[in-house]
């Protein structure tokens, strides 16, 4: 870790001005990712601009759906009655993530920006294209048990580590962003994260100095009837080997609408429109679910150690759909 200066700001304008005006400056909210990576020398920021006082708060029902301020804490959102009742998938994704201590600190915006747990990325002694573009990707032929089978490239197969993003991808969430000039724009969650391709250092469409203001999730029957299933190496406090965020609107045994996203297997939160297409209009049976699961992983490119994820992701998705349709 390097020495750094610290600045606390109360408005988005001050914060973005500080970050764009100072070389090597970065935002800090809960700090659960940025401090971790600075201790590992993976990130070396000269200044941290604290945005915790910026009023990006609130959990409220709006005409567009549920609006959650980017600086709300994971624990508060996960336990909020509106979230628990109308978006159970989001509550479950949040409360199965990390530990209570981390959830009490980590913000919603920061969670969406959490960086990969790929061991090659987290240790500066290794080459890593994400950390040092062009240096190589030892994960391709190395310890890749936990890495992505979907959305990877020859330059990077780092898994998106989060759970919340997977749920938000499934439920058509839209992010509100604000840049240093005070200009706001809306970006659907599914377009917010990008696959690595040949530029794995670029993980989102966020521009320098731009902040996440809030996230809005439309109300829908498939959001109210939804769940998040997470499979991991231990019962709690572990990243997903595979997870499934599913929402179903079933009437008379027929699926009217469906939402599917996978976690733990993709380089970004992995919305599967192919699976949704198979589910929509089909009978809510295990056969349908199996077909949808097969479609969801059709493009999988497993490596030596993560081949099991192809089966695990499908089984996880099928299980989630079975449990949800039986509920």
């Amino acid at each position: 870790m390097n020495n750094f200066s610290y600045l606390s700001t109360a408005t988005a304008k001050d914060a973005t001005a500080a970050v764009t005006g100072t070389k090597g400056a970065a935002f800090i909210a809960g700090g659960t990712t940025v401090l971790d990576l600075m201790k590992l020398n993976v990130e070396n920021h000269a200044e941290l601009v604290d945005i915790n006082m910026v009023p990006f708060k609130g959990i409220e029902q709006t005409a567009e759906g549920l609006r959650i301020g980017a600086l709300e804490r994971m624990s508060d959102v996960g336990e909020h009655p509106l979230v628990v009742q109308n978006y159970p998938m989001i509550s479950q994704a949040l409360l199965q993530a990390a530990s209570p201590q981390l959830r009490n600190m980590a913000s919603i915006g920061g969670n969406l920006l959490q960086r990969t747990r790929c061991g090659y990325f987290r240790d500066v002694a290794f080459p890593c294209n994400k950390r040092q573009p062009g240096s190589g990707c030892p994960a391709q032929e190395g310890e890749n048990r936990g890495l992505a089978i979907l959305g990877g490239s020859k330059d990077c197969i780092a898994t998106h580590p989060g759970d919340l993003g997977v749920a938000l991808a499934a439920l058509d969430a839209v992010l509100l962003l604000e840049n240093a000039k005070g200009k706001q724009r809306r970006v659907p969650l599914v377009d917010f994260h990008v696959v690595p391709g040949s530029t794995p250092q670029r993980e989102t469409v966020l521009e320098p100095g731009e902040l996440i203001v809030s996230v809005t999730i439309p109300a829908a029957a498939h959001a109210k009837k939804s769940m998040y299933l997470k499979v991991r190496d231990r019962a709690s406090y572990a990243f997903a080997l595979a997870s499934a965020a599913v929402g179903l609107d079933v009437q008379g045994g027929q699926i009217r609408s469906a939402r599917v996203a996978l976690g733990g297997v993709g380089t970004k939160p992995w919305r599967s429109l192919a699976a949704e297409k198979i589910l929509t209009g089909a009978p809510a049976t295990e056969a349908t679910f199996r077909a949808a699961a097969a479609a969801a992983v059709r493009d999988a490119q497993p490596r030596e150690q993560n081949r099991f994820k192809v089966e695990l992701a499908q089984n996880t998705l099928v299980r989630a759909l079975l449990e949800l349709s039986a509920a």
């Binding site: 870790m1 987290r122 030892p138 048990r145 019962a235 081949r307 099991f308 695990l312």
Partner: protein, 776 residues
């Protein structure tokens, strides 16, 4: 003392030994008053931070510290270019032996890089943050070579060592003709078992605070399982008399074997303190912990057994291949437990080692016994299913009435009772003999069990008792409390030995100024230190008895010493309890405020044979007596397996052990629970991943190296069989630190087999192995 006192018998009125006394240090710990080795705010204290190697093999071509030295507050940067000369280093065999070093190489003594994470510099600065910043600014130019990551690498040099475990065990063992016996056996089975690299990961990382009190006298607050072993190591390194090196460890946040030796960072910190002339504190970061204090080595075991159709073992052949460092022939001695757990007329074992660019591995809780029991206890389970015999019954058919490896009778063995009681508590009789048929909804339910055993190693130590005429006592031994309850149980032993209430006793430990106690390792501490305390108390009573029988004012005047007994702090005639007096009255009359006694406690075969256990902890000379000395136990496990998701959850657990006298029902139960959880971790999730090309770990933190969390562990049932063993030590204590995890991984794997019909022989049993689609 004139004679060896009798075996410790608690008084007819129940004493406090064995009672579930709360931890005497519990309040200080939860109040933050218990000081660990990195928590001494010495005047002028400065901070050391290690810079470690980015490569696993090669040389340091150049090292540029100029930028780092310019940082404010930086006092010194130690590298191989300026490390002050040491009297001895472990880089040669003679030095290694003198130091008792766990590894035959000291970093910063050469420009050669042998393993990833090897220290290349130690920065000292006035704050931790400045030292950390400076370490990041050091520029090291390496000449890198392609490293070898493990014995599995085709380029690794594979050899059969004559001795393993630093010469403590044989690389080849043969009893009878196992090959011939196997050829004639109706049942033959061969199975291959692998074990991942495991790291101890105590909550408290390695930590050293060193202060030079004088140019030739140093005090070290050290996170160690043995202050004396560290003292000896440092005195050899520094060329100082042993008494010029003081080592203090008042509290330890776990050790599990990795703190059983003096590792490089300790002596480097001492040298740094010498160079800057101020006390220096160094705490390993969690990633550094993975490459600083050893690990359990990656290993493959091949176990072949021959048996009769009735399930009687006829032959056992065990082969182990594992990774070791460039310098040392270290391997856990897995075969020992396989050689003695069951009656079997023939046995053979071989060890193979492969050199790789890793640091030397070291003892990890139940070294050898834990992975060895995984092999034998999985294979016994196999045999039971193949022959259609209950897993407990197959073990009873092969029950060893004496130690098959030595032919000696057991000093005590309660394994039958452990099986019976464990089965009863667990409800083993409800088990469906068929595998893969018991269900709970979508989940597959499995029952598994396994045997546990751990030796009573040879050891000895001393203790001192100072009894005050006002009814208080201070009891001292240079032992270590790993967090398991040494402070508490020794207080109990002292209380009963002195006839005082526990709150009248202060037990002090963890300082080389105190009487010498052994390392808290190999499960020897409880038995050795408790015996030492008891003997020291006996010494006090002997002195008081002599005073009494010479004192005309004493009711015991002119009594014979052998007719006098101590009962609840009272000296009295054995035959007439009314004739006697309280020690306080005797001492007051004599005008003495306090009286001191000391005693030596022996543990293991040295106790039975009346021999010195000198260097016993190094030599493990466990055969001096007439008896073979071991604890035994049985673990019972229920798992629920999700066959689609691959998850295995332990849902019920029962452990029953026969381990001699139990000193404290509560701390003992906690220790068995802790060891079982340690074993469940090894069984289901613990694995350090080493990149095959870079020989560097890819998950060196507690977020990605998984150990069990609360949600992984069910309520656990622990019981002990009442066991009286007069041969092992004066207290009859066997020690339970390690047996608690022996057999655990097999119990889990056997339950997984019962649930799924799938035998997993590769630890840990992660979801990918249940799904079975992981390609080779």
């Amino acid at each position: 003392m004139d004679h060896e006192p009798a075996f410790f018998e608690t008084s007819p009125k129940p004493g406090v030994v064995g009672m579930p006394l709360n931890r005497v240090d519990g309040r200080d710990k939860v109040m933050g008053k218990a000081k660990y080795s990195a928590e001494y705010p010495l005047p002028g204290l400065v901070y050391g931070v290690l810079k470690t190697s980015a490569i696993a093999k090669g040389r340091v071509q150049s090292i540029d510290t100029s930028l780092a030295m310019k940082e404010p507050g930086v006092l010194q940067i130690l590298t191989h270019l300026n490390l002050p000369k040491l009297a001895k280093t472990p880089n040669d065999p003679e030095g290694k032996k003198a130091i008792g070093a766990p590894m035959g190489f000291l970093p910063l003594t050469s420009d050669v890089i042998y393993y990833a994470g090897q220290p290349v510099a130690l920065v000292v600065a006035d704050t931790f943050e400045r030292a950390t910043q400076a370490a990041a600014l050091i520029r090291v130019n390496y000449a890198a070579e392609a490293p070898i990551a493990a014995y599995t690498d085709k380029r690794a040099q594979i050899f059969n060592p004559e001795k393993i475990q630093d010469g403590k065990a044989d690389g080849y063992t043969r009893r009878g003709d196992a090959r011939a016996a196997l050829a004639g056996a109706p049942i033959k089975m061969t199975a291959v078992y692998t074990h991942a690299i495991n790291h101890h990961n105590p909550m408290e990382p390695g930590a050293t605070t060193a202060i030079w009190e004088a140019p030739d006298r140093v005090t070290v607050y050290e996170s160690t399982q043995g202050v004396t072993r560290t003292q000896k190591a440092l005195s050899a390194y520094l060329g100082l008399p042993q008494d010029q090196v003081r080592v203090i460890t008042k509290f330890l946040g776990g050790g599990f074997g990795c703190k059983g030796s003096c590792w490089p960072h300790t002596v480097l910190t001492v040298q740094a303190a010498k160079m800057v002339g101020r006390p220096v504190k160094l705490v390993l970061t969690r990633p550094q912990q993975f490459t600083s204090m050893g690990h359990r080595e990656d290993q493959t075991q091949t176990l072949t057994l021959g048996a009769s159709k009735e399930g009687k073992l006829l032959a056992l052949i065990h082969e182990k291949t594992s990774t070791t460092s460039p310098w040392d022939n270290y391997a856990e001695a897995n075969s020992k437990i396989i050689n003695l757990l069951y009656e079997c007329p023939t046995f053979e074992s071989h060890y193979e080692l492969g050199r790789a660019n890793v640091m030397t591995s070291t003892f990890t809780r139940a070294p050898g016994e834990a992975p060895g029991s995984f092999a034998i206890e999985s294979s016994m389970d196999d045999l039971a299913y193949q022959l259609g015999i209950d897993p407990i019954e197959i073990r009873l058919r092969n029950y060893a009435e004496k130690d098959p490896s030595t032919g000696q009778p057991w000093s005590s063995k309660s394994l039958r009772q452990c099986y019976a009681r464990g089965a009863e508590l667990f409800g083993w009789s409800k088990r469906n003999p068929k595998a893969g048929v018991t269900k709970n909804g979508r989940l597959l339910v499995g029952y598994g069990m396994a045997t546990a055993s751990y030796p009573v190693h040879n050891s000895q130590g001393t203790a001192r008792v100072r009894l005050y005429a006002d009814g208080h006592a201070v009891v001292q031994a240079g032992a270590t409390d790993l967090g398991t309850g040494t402070y508490t149980v020794m207080t109990q032993v002292a209380a009963d030995s002195l006839g005082l209430a526990p709150d009248k006793i202060r037990f002090e430990l963890g300082d080389t100024k105190l009487p010498t106690a052994p390392n808290s390792g190999g499960s020897v501490a409880a038995g050795t230190v408790s015996s030492s305390v008891y003997m020291a108390a006996q010494d006090v009573w002997e002195r008081l008895t002599k005073m009494a029988i010479k004192d005309p004012k004493s009711p015991l005047f002119k009594a014979k010493a052998e007719d006098v007994a101590m009962e609840n702090g009272r000296l009295q005639l054995k035959k007439d309890a009314s004739k006697g007096e309280d020690f306080k009255a005797l001492m007051k009359r004599a005008g003495i405020d306090d009286i001191e006694g000391s005693g030596q406690g022996k543990y293991g075969s040295g106790y039975e044979a009346g021999q010195s256990a000198a260097n016993a902890s190094d030599a493990h000379k466990d055969e001096a007596g007439k008896h073979s000395m071991h604890s035994f136990g049985a673990h019972f496990c229920e798992v629920q397996v999700d066959p689609d998701l691959g998850t295995v959850r332990v849902t019920r657990w029962v452990s029953v052990h026969g381990a001699g006298r139990i000193l404290n029902a509560k701390t003992a139960r906690s220790q068995i629970i802790g060891g079982s959880i340690f074993g469940i971790g090894a069984a289901l999730m613990e694995a350090t991943a080493r990149d095959p090309h870079y020989a560097r770990y890819t998950n060196a933190d507690l977020g990605d190296y998984h150990i069990p969390v609360n949600a992984d562990i069910p309520d656990m049932t622990v019981e002990f069989i009442d066991e009286h063993d007069p041969y092992i030590n004066a207290m009859g204590v066997k020690g339970i630190g390690e047996i608690s995890m022996v057999g655990v991984s097999a119990a889990v794997a056997n339950a997984v087999f019962h649930a799924t019909g799938k035998r997993v022989r590769d630890l840990p049993i992660t979801p990918d192995k249940i799904l079975g689609t992981k390609s080779a």
